[in-house]
């Protein structure tokens, strides 16, 4: 195979841009699964929900999709807090989170997907924005703005989260609750409230990720399923609970997927992330930077 260096370089750059976006989608799981030990496989459903809300407001009111996602952040936060409350009351409190908690989130994933099909149908949906279409040409590289802008927003979101978790009291309380719930209780902080806030944040981030998703690619309800494997693969590969680790893993996955897609064809792309996941689970479950 005669590898064109141009093609290779562009594939890698596209992979990095994609990886940045993947990091934003995974940030929520890093919190809910990595730190709170909640296997929220419905997370991609919330992302897709964010995509559709961004789509709906964008099409009808012409507001920029990223702006829409920021406006609905409080609503998504509230939704996340509500879901956690139900999860806690029904499962965590009774110590049944393994079987029934998983079934619960799977049910949510399914209900969200089917509801979206019923409301919006199975056609692909797009959004309109000034930066979808043009590309930046830099040193022989082609940087489509519809990928560059989401990547930058994603990195900004990711950076904000990392600062929050390491610098604020609330953020550090969340890290603490993931490591030692009893110690947190002794510090007179309510672990349940901390977890609820954290879960709310994880879902709120999903809203932003959803807007970014529909900028990068057209969306239809079952797209979420492709992302389940990706986000857990990145989370596990990066090491549970490590946001920087997730970022590195996200870039890695993005590049490998992009290379596979360019040189072997896009129909193999879904298998890449899931294959990564299986290999990581089989050989290095602690991830690259695991605790």
């Amino acid at each position: 195979m005669d590898i064109s260096w141009d093609l290779l370089l562009n594939a890698i750059v596209a992979g990095l841009l994609l990886g940045g976006f993947y990091a934003a989608v995974t940030a929520g799981i890093s919190i809910s699964f990595g730190m709170l030990d909640i296997v929220n496989i419905a997370h991609p459903a919330f992302v897709i929900l964010g995509s559709y809300i961004a789509y709906y407001v964008n099409i009808n009111l012409g507001i920029d999709p990223i702006l829409v996602s920021i406006i609905v952040l409080p609503a998504f936060y509230a939704l996340g807090a509500l879901v956690y409350q139900v999860y806690y009351m029904s499962f965590e409190r009774r110590g049944q989170e393994s079987l029934r908690g998983l079934a619960f989130f799977f049910g949510l994933l399914f209900v969200t997907e089917v509801s979206l099909i019923l409301v919006f149908g199975v056609d692909y949906r797009y959004v309109e924005a000034a930066y979808i279409g043009p590309s930046l040409h830099l040193a022989g590289l082609e940087l489509p703005l519809r990928m560059l802008v989401p990547c930058l927003v994603a990195l900004a979101t990711f950076g904000a989260l990392e600062l929050f978790v390491t610098r604020t009291f609330l953020g550090r309380a969340i890290m603490a609750v993931s490591q030692d719930q009893l110690a947190l209780q002794l510090m007179a902080a309510d672990p349940i409230r901390i977890k609820r806030i954290a879960f709310g944040i994880s879902i709120a981030v999903a809203s932003i990720a959803g807007a970014l998703l529909i900028i990068i690619q057209p969306v239809e309800p079952s797209v979420g399923r492709d992302y389940i494997g990706r986000v857990f693969a990145i989370c596990v590969l990066g090491g549970l609970g490590s946001l920087p680790g997730a970022l590195i893993a996200a870039f890695l996955l993005g590049v490998v997927e992009s290379l596979t897609s360019t040189f072997y064809g896009p129909s193999w792309a879904p298998a890449v992330s899931f294959g990564f996941l299986l290999l990581t689970l089989a050989f290095r479950p602690a991830g690259l930077m695991g605790r």
């Binding site: 029904s90 029934r100 298998a271």
Partner: protein, 318 residues
């Protein structure tokens, strides 16, 4: 009641059902009945790993599709009788179950579940890219109009129905036997407290591998006749998500601790879905299944059988 007696009774019930359907002689009844019997097998299979051991498998569709595509594979080489295909499907799916288990069962239950999701997508991608079995274009399976055996001639669908009925009987008898055996006790300890189980001498990894292999094998068995039932097999229909949801919802709604739960759940939910698909739409029907799953998991964690047991116990105390 020992296993032999139970098997005889179930087989007798099965024969009665067969006779009834034969007397009705309505092809649609066979088609609908086949779907429900298929769900009985899938739900019972899922429950062996999910309900008894507490490990949630999201990849039912993958094991089912492996059975289906194994049949397509042999069909392209040289058509084989369906009972043999069922055995082959069971073997392949069982091996895949064993492999998946071996890779992931030493980790926590949550990782196993995520791995099953991953596996489903990986297999779907492999199949979509494998032209020999039709890839994304799909594969046609032509079967004779009628099935002939020793002078008896019936519509092909009746033959498939009978096979699936037999599989359902075998699955239920197997589940019940496991429940009452040493293996069943071992499974229950894995569900309750794996660490304590190990301390009591239970070889947890080995038992979990047995469960995944059995579970996968039965799902493959259910999938093997599917191409003959449907005539045209596409990856979308073989790997459809509603297999995953239903094989989880049916045992959870019926009750996960006994073999009766998946049976009850399959018949109720399966019939309701047949009705809803015909009268409303298949999307609404799936929405209802999903909502019921969420509702039952929150409100009635032990399913319908659990509710019945609770009310009996309450009545006994008062």
């Amino acid at each position: 009641m020992n296993t032999a007696t139970f098997s005889i009774i179930t087989a007798a019930v099965g024969l009665a059902v067969m006779a009834l359907f034969h007397w009705l002689s309505v092809d649609y009844a066979y088609f609908a009945g086949y779907t429900i019997l298929q769900f009985i097998v899938l739900a019972t299979a899922w429950n062996i790993l999910g309900g008894y051991c507490g490990y949630v498998n999201f990849g039912t569709a993958a094991f089912f599709a492996i059975g289906a595509y194994s049949s397509v594979f042999w069909y392209k080489f040289h058509p084989l009788p369906i009972p043999l295909l069922i055995v082959l499907g069971a073997v392949v799916s069982g091996i895949v179950g064993l492999g998946t288990g071996y890779l992931t069962l030493r980790l926590r239950g949550a990782f196993f579940s995520i791995a099953t999701l991953a596996m489903a997508v990986v297999f779907q991608t492999l199949v979509v890219n494998w032209d020999f079995v039709g890839g994304s274009r799909g594969a046609y399976i032509i079967h004779p109009e009628n099935f002939e055996l020793a002078g008896l001639e019936v519509h092909y669908i009746e033959y498939l129905f009978a096979l699936m009925l037999l599989l359902a009987v075998i699955a239920l008898a197997t589940a019940r036997t496991i429940e009452r055996s040493r293996l069943g006790y071992g499974f229950a300890t894995i569900r309750d407290d794996e660490l304590a189980a190990e301390a009591c001498g239970v070889p947890t990894l080995r038992l979990k591998l047995i469960a995944t292999t059995l579970s996968g094998a039965f799902m493959g068995m259910a999938g093997a006749p599917f191409p003959y039932y449907i005539g045209y097999l596409q990856p979308q229909s073989a790997f459809a998500l509603d297999y995953a949801v239903n094989s989880i919802a049916m045992p959870m709604i019926g009750g996960t601790t006994t073999w009766v739960g998946p049976l009850v759940g399959s018949i109720l939910l399966g019939s309701a879905q047949q009705y809803a698909t015909v009268t409303i739409s298949s999307a609404v029907n799936l929405l209802i299944v999903g909502l019921m799953l969420v509702a039952f998991v929150i409100i009635a964690p032990n399913g319908l059988i659990g509710l019945v047991k609770e009310s009996l116990r309450a009545r006994r105390r008062s």
